[in-house]
């Protein structure tokens, strides 16, 4: 078990270094002089503004220093929690802007991921080897997984928001309200939360159901299932064992899918103008605010790594083989 966790930690540590390095490197690969390009992109005319912006960016990038020093400085400021200053929301520090948006993203992502996983697994387990349900669930599941996240979001916003008028379609709360601890605000928050959550939930649902169905069928063909059946064990019992075994790949699948779901959450938020990280990414791109973009994305990477680590710990708790150092999960 210790070896397993140590190996995982090594992978995540390495991944973090690679991600941060990419984040540092890519802007420096920009063709031409990045500072000049940034200033040009901001499209300001005043010579004084240009001069001060040039200076600002040069200091920010630390371009006058040797390249290894730039890299070390980047790490240094990262550990101090200093992600730079947002150009778009000047003079708010990027870390603050990101922290304000994180709760919204987590608020739709965590329930959507967990619920879709639980519901999808039970639907898939039920559908396996039941002809009628399988014939319905399988094609529907495949079509739902094939949907681009933002398209389902657009459909829901149009259907339930614009056409039926049941739910609001934009923002995290009513623009007339001020965030506060009150029932009316909480209710408003909830109403704005429903559609983004639902679209994320639905797209993820299909994949889990299909995965579980295939795994259960595979498990039911295995020797232990046949042996149990030969002993005359009730079908229910056999399926229960199959389900428990099929859970393990699904937990690994959850870790693998995090990045994809996260991308889905980002575009879903954009459709609903939901004030989470996705909206920040969009605003950062539209306003050419690269510090905000990098800060947000770095946050996302850290979040995915943390979530992966949590899933690994859950895996250790669920699969006894990893504890005793037998095969279990391959790192």
């Amino acid at each position: 078990m210790r070896g397993y966790l140590a190996r995982k930690t090594l992978v995540y540590g390495l991944t973090f270094v690679v991600a941060v390095t990419l984040n540092w490197l890519i802007p420096r690969l920009m063709p031409g002089d990045p500072v000049q390009r940034m200033v040009a992109r901001a499209a300001v005319q005043h010579p004084e503004t240009i001069a001060s912006m040039t200076q600002y960016y040069e200091r920010m990038f630390g371009l006058d220093l040797p390249i290894w020093q730039q890299y070390l400085n980047y790490w240094g400021s990262l550990f101090r929690g200093d992600l730079g200053t947002s150009v778009w929301l000047f003079p708010a520090p990027v870390s603050q802007v990101v922290l304000d948006a994180v709760p919204y993203t987590l608020g739709i992502m965590i329930p959507a991921i967990l619920l879709s996983w639980v519901v999808g697994n039970s639907v898939g387990a039920m559908a396996a080897r039941s002809r009628w349900l399988d014939n319905v669930a399988l094609p529907v599941g495949y079509l739902v997984t094939a949907m681009p996240y933002m398209w389902l979001a657009i459909l829901l916003a149009w259907g339930f928001g614009v056409a039926l008028g049941w739910f609001p379609v934009a923002g995290g709360y009513d623009f007339g309200l001020v965030p506060q601890w009150s029932w009316s605000f909480a209710w408003d928050l909830l109403q704005h939360w429903v559609l983004p959550f639902l679209s994320l939930f639905l797209v993820a649902l299909g994949g889990w159901a299909i995965g579980m169905r295939n795994l259960i069928i595979y498990e039911l063909e295995s020797d232990y299932a046949n042996y149990l059946a030969a002993l005359g064990a009730p079908k229910r019992l056999i399926r229960q064992y199959a389900f428990r075994n099929a859970m393990l790949p699904q937990i690994t699948g959850l870790a693998l899918q995090l990045g994809t779901i996260l991308g889905g959450a980002l575009v879903t938020e954009i459709v609903f103008a939901y004030p989470g990280l996705g909206k920040l990414v969009l605003s950062a791109i539209q306003n050419q605010d690269f510090f905000l973009l990098q800060g947000t994305l770095l946050f996302v990477v850290i979040g995915v790594l943390l979530a992966n680590f949590i899933i690994d710990i859950v895996y250790v708790l669920v699969d006894p083989r990893t504890r005793t150092g037998l095969t279990g999960a391959t790192a």
């Binding site: 920009m30 094939a146 398209w151 459909l155 954009i270 791109i285």
Partner: protein, 312 residues
């Protein structure tokens, strides 16, 4: 999508793209396999339906532009017109022909799928084969690389790359998508190669003194052709979805039309609030049908290649 591992049936051939009309590789000696696979593929409704839908869209994208009167960005007709005989998918707020955009978008979609899926397949398979066959230190290193790329949220890196480097052509976009979507392929191919490595016929090939590349190409890969083909189909669909998301964020190609870009513009110009459903439904529906058909086709292919799964 969680890629479940279909068991590769030994003896199946790669050239049997089911549903593809036209000559398959003729003159091959053990033609029985191809013919048998084709026989089952053409009788599998999942494969047939999937292939017909995908090929239908491909055909529309390929020959459609020849019959269009307007370019995708032309201000062709009255603004916000619902579907009619003149404009089968209606027009945008600016009077652009939605159908013309859709057809042009299909081309980018297939291009991204083909290139992105192809790049990912080549990288993933190469790393998987080498890691699985060589083992030892090389395996450890490649495995580490695979795990690192697997955990990095590729979509995020793609956003940074596109935003900074201004990658704004469809092929470049596809290339970068491919570079970040290979890890699960490498894993799956590695584990299958691992199980093939100790077989007798591989030992025989090694004894005969041929190189590693030849063994991988001639002895290992043919046993996995069916699996590799199905992997490519999944990568194809995945690349399309990733590209659509990037385009939707506004990091799509600037010199071409794409289905994701259509949705981006529809939302940006408040097609939802104006009720212009003909603007945002076709692009998403097109992607869903193409990718969904690919997935369903894959289930069918699994049944074709793996006799155990065939319905009796």
């Amino acid at each position: 999508m969680t890629a479940t591992q279909p068991v590769a049936g030994p003896g199946t051939e790669a050239s049997d793209q089911p549903g593809v009309a036209g000559p398959t590789t003729s003159g091959r000696k053990p033609g029985g396999d191809v013919r048998e696979t084709l026989y089952f593929a053409l009788r599998n409704p999942k494969v047939l339906i999937g292939a017909v839908v995908v090929l239908g869209f491909l055909l529309l994208g390929l020959i459609g532009p020849a019959f269009l009167r307007y370019a995708p960005m032309d201000y062709a007709g009255p603004p916000m017109a619902p579907p009619s005989a003149d404009f089968p998918f209606g027009t945008t707020t600016f009077g652009q022909d939605v159908f013309a955009q859709f057809v042009a978008g299909l081309r980018s979609t297939f291009l991204v799928g083909l290139l992105g899926g192809g790049v990912a397949a080549v990288i993933g398979m190469t790393i998987g084969f080498v890691a699985g066959y060589r083992g030892g230190l090389i395996d450890e290193l490649l495995n580490m690389l695979t795990n690192v790329v697997l955990v990095i949220p590729g979509f995020v890196v793609l956003i940074i790359i596109n935003a900074y480097l201004g990658v704004r052509s469809v092929p470049m976009q596809a290339l970068y998508i491919g570079v970040f979507s290979w890890p699960w392929v490498a894993r799956a191919v590695r584990s299958q190669t691992l199980s093939l490595r100790s077989r007798d016929f591989i030992d025989l090939a090694r004894l005969s003194g041929v190189g590693v590349g030849t063994i991988l190409r001639r002895e290992v890969a043919p046993n996995m052709y069916s699996y590799l083909f199905m992997t490519f189909v999944l990568l194809f669909g995945g690349s399309i979805l990733t590209a659509a998301s990037l385009d939707f964020i506004g990091l799509g190609p600037t010199n071409a039309m794409s289905l994701g870009l259509m949705m981006n513009q529809a939302v940006q110009w408040s097609a939802l609030h104006l009720g212009l459903w003909w603007w945002f439904i076709p692009p998403g529906l097109g992607i869903t049908l193409i990718v969904g058909s690919l997935y369903i086709m894959n289930v069918g292919l699994d049944e074709v290649f793996n006799p155990k799964l065939r319905e009796m």
